[in-house]
Every structure is written in C-alpha cells, then in structure tokens.
C-alpha cells in the first residue's frame, strides 16, 4: 500500500496523463485532446465509442502502440480495424480504471 493508502502507485511518482477519447476525429474535442497529448510528457490514450474512428488513417497521436488502447466491441461494431496502431482490449474498462486510479495519474475525458 502506498503512502496515501488509497491508490496504486505509478513509476517514480512521475505524473501520468490518461486521455479517454470518445469523439470522432473531426470534432473540436478530438482536436483538443490530441493537442494536449502532444504537450504531455507521459500520455496514454484510451479510445472508446466513436473515439475508435481516430484509428482510421494515420496514427492519431505520436504514441507507441502500447500507449493507445482501443475498446474491442466498439471497433467491431463500427468496422474499424486497429491494425498496428493500437492495443485492442476486451477488458478495456478494467484497464482504463486500473490506469486512471493509479496514484500518479490524471484523467482527461473528451
């Protein structure tokens, strides 16, 4: 258990920014989300709902495959293939909550 006795601890207390994006690429919110990711030093992008459309075409953010997590049922419903851009998860919400609640995390929802 960590000092606060509350949340999972992250690596070396460095702040981690979790971005949950549920909007399609041409929206103002997706644009803002990607700009914030570009400013962040430690970003992870979770794509759910219409957010998975951001995987069409070029990779939505300059993030490695491990740092982009996409929700499998949302991809399948929409006919979007994640290819090499993202980690596809059936336990999307478990992973999201684990990351979001880790001690050094902040979460931004778009």
């Amino acid at each position: 258990m960590n000092r606060k006795g509350e949340l999972h601890s992250g690596p070396a207390n460095q702040r981690k920014d979790i971005f949950l994006l549920t909007k399609s690429p041409h929206s103002d919110r997706a644009r803002l989300c990607l700009q914030l990711i570009a400013q962040s030093e430690d970003a992870v992008l979770y794509l759910a709902g219409d957010g998975v459309y951001n995987l069409l075409g070029e990779s939505p953010a300059a993030l490695s495959r491990e740092r982009i997590v996409a929700c499998q049922e949302d991809l399948q419903a929409r006919g979007v293939l994640a290819d090499e851009n993202a980690t596809v998860s059936v336990d999307f919400y478990e992973l999201l909550i684990y990351d979001v609640m880790s001690e050094t995390a902040r979460v931004y929802t778009f």
Binding site: L7, G49, L96, I97, R106, T109
Partner: protein, 123 residues
C-alpha cells in the same frame, strides 16, 4: 474496503447516446475496488425513470439501479429534474427507481472535492 474515489458526471439521457451505457461500464469496473459517485445532470436526470423498456438497447434504468445496489452513490440535480417533471419529495421522485436520490447541485461540488478522479461524459 474501497480505496480511492471516482466521480462520473453525465448530461445525456438514455438511448440517445451511448454515454449512459459507457458510464455503467466504467462504474462497474471501478466498483470492484473504488468508491463511485455518479451525478446526473441536465438530460441525464431521465436515466432513473421507472418503466423503461427498450427493445434494442440495454435498459438504462436497470443498469443504474444495479450500480446503486453495488454501492455507487447516484444523485440527480434538482433543478434539472424538477424542470423535466421529476419533482423531488424528501429527495425522492415517485417517477424514479429507488436508491437514486435527487439532492443538490452542491453535492456535485462535494463529490468533486472528495474524489480522486472525475470523468465527465457528454455529447
């Protein structure tokens, strides 16, 4: 004992968007280890309405009833609820499923102050 608290804010009603269902999935995952508060704001005050019977989607009222039974605190904005025909009597509406209260917008602020994380889902 649950450690760490997350507050989820919703503004859409059920079915019109997938945010009620997404909030359910987030809350369900969070409730395994954490405290969960849900504040129903604007159109989201329709979510706890009794008697929902969707033919093609999951029943949002039942999903949120389940969350409340699992220990989530689900509260609705009284201004939004009263405007939309859910006038509270002692914090409850006869049109609402039990366990979901109509409280005060100040409770939103309290939930935020007391939470470690906040997730707002809206169109």
């Amino acid at each position: 004992m649950r450690m760490g608290a997350i507050t989820i804010i919703l503004t859409d009603g059920p079915y019109i968007s997938e945010y009620a269902e997404m909030a359910y999935k987030i809350a369900k995952a969070a409730l395994k280890k954490h405290e969960v508060n849900i504040f129903l704001y604007l159109d989201a005050v329709h979510i706890p309405k009794k008697g929902q019977n969707p033919a093609f989607f999951a029943n949002a009222g039942e999903l949120f009833g389940e969350l409340a039974a699992l220990g989530a605190r689900v509260e609705a904005c009284p201004r939004c609820a009263t405007a939309r025909g859910y006038a509270p009597v002692n914090g409850e509406s006869e049109d609402y499923l039990g366990a979901i209260k109509i409280t005060s917008l100040y409770r939103l602020a309290e939930m935020l102050e007391e939470s470690d994380r906040v997730v707002a889902l809206s169109r």
